[in-house]
């Protein structure tokens, strides 16, 4: 259908200032961090569930595709308008509607940014613990739809563990508004539709409101930053920590070379004397020094050469103990750009991967990754959430060089094989989107479970019989 007609019709339905077909604007809403450019016909900015419902009714009637977007930071291509269609941007639905400490929930619209939500909760001593690296800009709705995780995943899990109930607009002829789940922590409402929607990447229904669980902020967190000459020793330390009747708040790892580059990129004065392990344990303030000494002993006993500690979160911030880990993304992009600085007209792309293996198999995973580095000749940056076995190996490549793009593809395929062979998974917290459809199939195939793809395809048809919601993604 013609763009101007869509704009005219939608303006009449929900209001002129909520619809745009401005060409420059369409360009922005057609892009994603993987470098893809899609085809937004119109961008719509709903401010209520009713607006969303009206847009869905219109799209259903006219067979127009709808692509929901939060802040378009997905690393799996989840929010790209692959075929021509309407981009439904939730950025104006960003209210925190209710915070209930006694009921342990917060009630929000999908466009609120995760960090903004946490600023509000922190003033009451609470938090929403799912913390993807993009939390400063990522929205709650995007996190629900991608099934996001983060650094605190080993302790708190991912989005599927924190969503209580969802208001949904269904892609049917009425654009039905329904509520799935409960306001209570316990809820047995037949089949678990809430957890089906979490991680469904906008392919089944549109999330217009959410009840999320909240939890108290820890009184404080003690921190240890350790460097191990031997990777095996670091992993032994992780296994030991994980079997000591504590659940670390943070357990993060950077391979030595990656840590060096990351430290250099922020002019850190911390000496990188091996592979880096960052441990945080939430404690009462009175117990801080006892835990610090205990943790230090464990780390040194397992071969750490250098251990820096802090008895509180504030002290760790002051001394910059988190900074090297936090600069992983900057380091990843910096090393990739420097590598191509003498290549004329290079389009440097970062492939940031998201595999997970059982933590007991992390040594094998890291060794396997080093072999892939040798085999394909890409400098591999390696770090991740070692507490739950989630690794984010990344490579940079020149997307304008067909040979190199092909090699990057091969690296990706081998990486997927590696994750599968170690009883792991191909996507931990980024989602399937466009980028991992084939990888998902291979994982299920390896487990003799391809039948599940058929079931997923049927679920999609039940929710979205006309295939108007984010077509071509996930399954």
């Amino acid at each position: 259908m013609e763009r101007t007609k869509i704009a005219r019709d939608l303006s009449r339905l929900i209001g002129k200032n909520k619809v745009s077909v401005d060409e420059a604007l369409l360009r922005i809403y057609s892009k994603d961090p993987l470098g893809n450019v899609g085809k937004a016909l119109a961008v719509v900015f709903p401010i209520s569930s009713n607006d969303v419902s009206k847009v869905v009714q219109y799209a259903y009637e006219n067979d127009i595709k709808i692509y929901a977007q939060g802040s378009s930071t997905s690393l799996a291509g989840s929010s790209l308008p692959l075929e021509a269609g309407i981009v439904l941007s939730f950025e104006r639905m960003k209210r925190v509607l209710e915070i209930s400490l006694v009921n342990s929930y917060v009630f929000v619209e999908p466009g609120v940014r995760i960090d903004d939500l946490n600023f509000e909760l922190a003033s009451k001593g609470y938090m929403f613990p799912v913390d993807p690296a993009s939390s400063s800009v990522a929205t709650v709705g995007g996190a629900i739809n991608s099934g996001a995780g983060g650094m605190r995943g080993a302790k708190y899990g991912t989005m599927r563990d924190w969503v209580l109930g969802l208001e949904l607009v269904l892609p049917d002829e009425r654009g039905s508004i329904v509520f799935s789940g409960c306001k209570t922590l316990k809820c047995r409402q037949g089949y678990d539709i809430v957890r089906l929607i979490v991680g469904s990447e906008g392919t089944l229904a549109l999330v217009t409101k959410a009840y999320l669980k909240i939890t108290p902020l820890p009184e404080t967190v003690i921190v240890a930053l350790a460097f191990f000459p031997k990777l095996e020793d670091l992993m032994e330390a992780v296994v030991n920590i994980k079997t000591q009747r504590i659940q670390p708040y943070i357990l993060e790892f950077l391979e030595k070379k990656t840590a060096e580059i990351a430290a250099k990129s922020i002019n850190s004065n911390i000496n990188i004397e091996g592979h880096m392990l960052l441990v945080g344990i939430d404690v009462n303030r009175e117990a801080g020094s006892r835990y610090v000494e205990w943790m230090k002993k464990i780390l040194i006993r397992h071969g750490a050469r250098e251990v820096q500690t802090a008895e509180s979160w504030e002290e760790a911030e002051e001394r910059g103990l988190f900074n090297i880990r936090r600069s992983l993304f900057v380091a990843q992009s910096k090393i990739a750009r420097e590598h191509y600085k003498n290549v004329k007209d290079a389009k440097v792309m970062l492939l940031i991967e998201d595999i997970a293996v059982p933590p007991s198999r992390l040594v094998e995973a890291v060794e396997g990754l080093k072999e892939l580095e040798k085999k394909h000749g890409f400098i591999t940056m390696l770090g991740g959430h070692v507490g739950d076995g989630n690794l984010h190996p990344s490579i940079g490549f020149n997307a304008l060089d067909p040979k190199e793009s092909k090699r990057a593809e091969e690296w990706f395929k081998d990486l997927i094989d590696l994750a599968i062979s170690l009883d792991g998974t191909v996507s931990s917290e980024h989602g399937i989107g466009l980028a991992k459809k084939d990888a998902l199939r291979r994982e299920l195939d390896a487990r003799g479970s391809v039948k599940l793809l058929e079931i997923m395809g049927n679920i999609k048809k039940v929710f979205d019989p006309k295939n108007i919601l984010n077509p071509g993604k996930v399954v």
Partner: protein, 111 residues
């Protein structure tokens, strides 16, 4: 657009990785009516303009609502000189499109 400056704009804006980290620090994006009021939007609109895109109404709103405060540059992993991109894009627009004393007017839009 002047060719040298235009090719510089294209080269600089092509570095954008679309991560959006800049938007967390931008003072204008929260008050604008869409993502074009943030640095990621501006950079990608300038890229679009440098590839013969049109100076649309929203493109001008985007370019001229920037405060040039440079907060975004603190978080840009691609090290794009965002304020300089905006300055150059504005001056090229003014030179080629505005008559003497004419100004670009941005509508006040409330989201």
């Amino acid at each position: 657009m002047n060719n040298n400056l235009k090719s510089w704009l294209k080269k600089e804006t092509s570095k954008c990785m679309f991560c959006g980290f800049c938007e967390a620090l931008c003072p204008t994006v929260r008050f604008g009516s869409h993502r074009g009021y943030g640095p990621r939007g501006r950079i990608n609109i300038v890229l679009y303009l440098s590839e013969e895109g049109k100076y649309t109404h929203e493109a001008l709103n985007s370019l001229y609502s920037c405060l040039l405060c440079a907060a975004c540059t603190l978080k840009c992993p691609a090290n794009i000189d965002i304020p300089e991109v905006i300055r150059v894009a504005r001056s090229l627009y003014a030179r080629n499109n505005l008559k003497e004393k004419e100004e670009v007017v941005i509508e006040k839009e409330v989201s």
